[in-house]
């Protein structure tokens, strides 16, 4: 799932402090799971903003709500009745949700309330780790189910580099070397022959390098 972290309160305050009617919109999708932008976080942020305005002696209306998903129009449309009330909106969705809301409510000021970080897993509550960079052409079948693009700091397809040390990445002793993980897994699977076969240069055009990406599924379109 998409992983995000709440933006620092000071940053959000800096954006909304001159408004008097602000709506905080959580998203019940990914950002709820990583506890960055669901209804709970919308309430917390709204309370903090109310406290700020009260202490500053300013009258302000801060409301909160949450939508099933902000990456779908039908859910965003649920805000259409009340959007006119507010001067500004803080969306706690990922970058997709923030942008989609801005597209739908073209004349409304929309601020992001979270920093969208990566596609990852929940190793523990509060510990989220990247696993996929959505490169558009999955090679996990060849690499023992461990992605070198997401897990090697140099996204090498023929690792490990000479900087890995005691199984850890050269950039940080707390990060496992992705290629050592691959090597060990291939060994476990009896597929070490894959390790010595050079992998050709990758076609990155399906990754971010190809520009904004679109999936057209004719089988799903009516």
């Amino acid at each position: 799932m998409i992983k995000a972290v709440p933006k620092p309160l000071e940053e959000v305050l800096g954006q909304v402090k001159d408004f008097t009617k602000v709506l905080i919109v959580g998203c019940d999708g990914c950002v709820t799971v990583c506890e960055a932008g669901g209804m709970k976080e919308a309430k917390v942020l709204a309370s903090a903003l109310r406290l700020y305005f009260t202490q500053a002696g300013k009258q302000a209306q801060i409301d909160e709500t949450s939508l099933t998903r902000q990456c779908e129009k039908e859910y965003l449309a649920q805000l259409s009745d009340k959007m006119d009330i507010y001067d500004a909106v803080v969306s706690l969705a990922c970058g997709c949700g923030v942008q989609y809301m801005a597209e739908m409510y073209n004349n409304k000021i929309i601020y992001p309330g979270v920093d969208t970080c990566f596609l990852g897993v929940n190793e523990e509550r509060g510990l989220y780790v990247e696993r996929c960079q959505a490169c558009g052409r999955c090679i996990l079948a060849e690499t023992g189910g461990i992605c070198p693009i997401a897990r090697c700091s140099k996204r090498m397809l023929n690792g490990p580099c000479g900087g890995s040390d005691a199984g850890k990445c050269e950039i940080n002793k707390d990060i496992p070397c992705g290629w050592e993980l691959i090597y060990e897994r291939l060994k476990t699977l009896g597929q070490l022959d894959r390790f010595e076969k050079p992998v050709d240069p990758k076609d990155w055009s399906t990754s971010r390098d190809g520009g904004p990406r679109t999936i057209v599924r004719e089988d799903l379109r009516i």
Partner: protein, 311 residues
């Protein structure tokens, strides 16, 4: 075992003599005289001079410009190229540019992560990795073709090198496997990481010999003299992928401060003597970091001077 190129380094290796290479680090300014000076310091003692490519991710004069400068001085240059900063268009472009000046040696590297350097906030590229760069140079040289498919007539005559680090773990066997992959990609010579742990290096070479890989690629053993015990400790603790055993620290630290440099040089010379006896070692790559003036002494005391003059 190898495609023959006009490289003087290749000629030396193929002659059966121990080859000697060294490297110079470009300056962090536009002062071209630095490379000229460093090149002149070592030119009589080596068969080729590597120019590092923004090593440790610190921005410097580019390797290509320095190699051209050395070439114009009549010296044999080895272009180090990392894939961190340039995509396949830029890499191939620089290879063509180097070849257009008659540069015939290339060292294909992935490169240190930018995290270490003076621009840790930059974007990295890593469009290719070192092994894919080896494949690319080989394709350009042997097939006259770019990765994009364009075919051309005047091919870059590159003797293709790469690095190997027997000490990076998790075990020597995997490091031999990784080198086997470089051999499969087309590498012809290897300059190893600095060797301090002789036991590990010999184990590595034994596995290489057992697999016959030493006949497919020329191994140049990496030598870096220690200037003082501080450097030895720094390399042991801070430099990823370098294995400095405690007895080296004790040896350099065991002599008075003013004699530590001398002890470091003597150690380097002893390492060369010992490595000459290791099957598969075809030469030495001397990395005297900001200590280029000592390369000559190491080469002479290591019994590698004068350099053989080949026709």
């Amino acid at each position: 075992m190898s495609v023959t190129t006009p490289s003087k380094l290749q000629k030396m290796i193929d002659s059966g003599n121990f080859a000697v290479t060294s490297e110079v680090g470009p300056p962090r300014s536009a002062d071209g005289a630095v490379i000229e000076h460093k090149g002149n310091l070592i030119k009589d003692y080596v068969d080729a001079i590597n120019v590092t490519d923004n090593q440790t991710s610190v921005c410097r004069v580019c390797s290509l410009a320095c190699c051209i400068r050395l070439k114009l001085m009549g010296l044999e240059a080895c272009l180090q190229m990392v894939t961190r900063d340039r995509n396949r268009i830029a890499l191939q472009s620089d290879i063509l540019g180097a070849a257009s000046f008659g540069i015939n040696n290339i060292l294909c590297l992935t490169g240190d992560h930018q995290h270490f350097g003076d621009h840790p906030k930059c974007a990295n590229v890593f469009d290719l990795d070192s092994i894919q760069l080896i494949q690319t140079v080989k394709m350009m040289r042997d097939e006259g073709k770019l990765l994009g498919g364009h075919e051309f007539a005047v091919r870059p005559q590159m003797y293709i090198g790469a690095a190997a680090n027997p000490f990076a773990g998790p075990n020597v066997a995997m490091r031999v496997s990784r080198l086997a992959k470089k051999v499969a990609a087309g590498v012809q010579f290897i300059q190893t990481q600095c060797i301090y742990n002789m036991d590990t290096f010999k184990e590595f070479m034994k596995l290489m010999v057992d697999r016959g890989l030493h006949e497919k690629v020329a191994i140049l053993a990496g030598i870096t003299p220690m200037k003082n015990v501080g450097m030895a400790k720094y390399m042991q603790k801070r430099v990823p992928g370098i294995d400095v055993p405690d007895d080296i620290i004790r040896r350099i630290g065991g002599v008075p401060k003013e004699k530590q440099a001398e002890e470091g040089l003597t150690l380097a010379v002893e390492q060369i003597q010992e490595l000459k006896e290791v099957e598969g070692v075809r030469g030495f790559h001397i990395m005297a970091i900001e200590w280029e003036e000592k390369v000559g002494e190491i080469v002479e005391r290591g019994g590698l001077f004068p350099r053989p003059q080949l026709a």
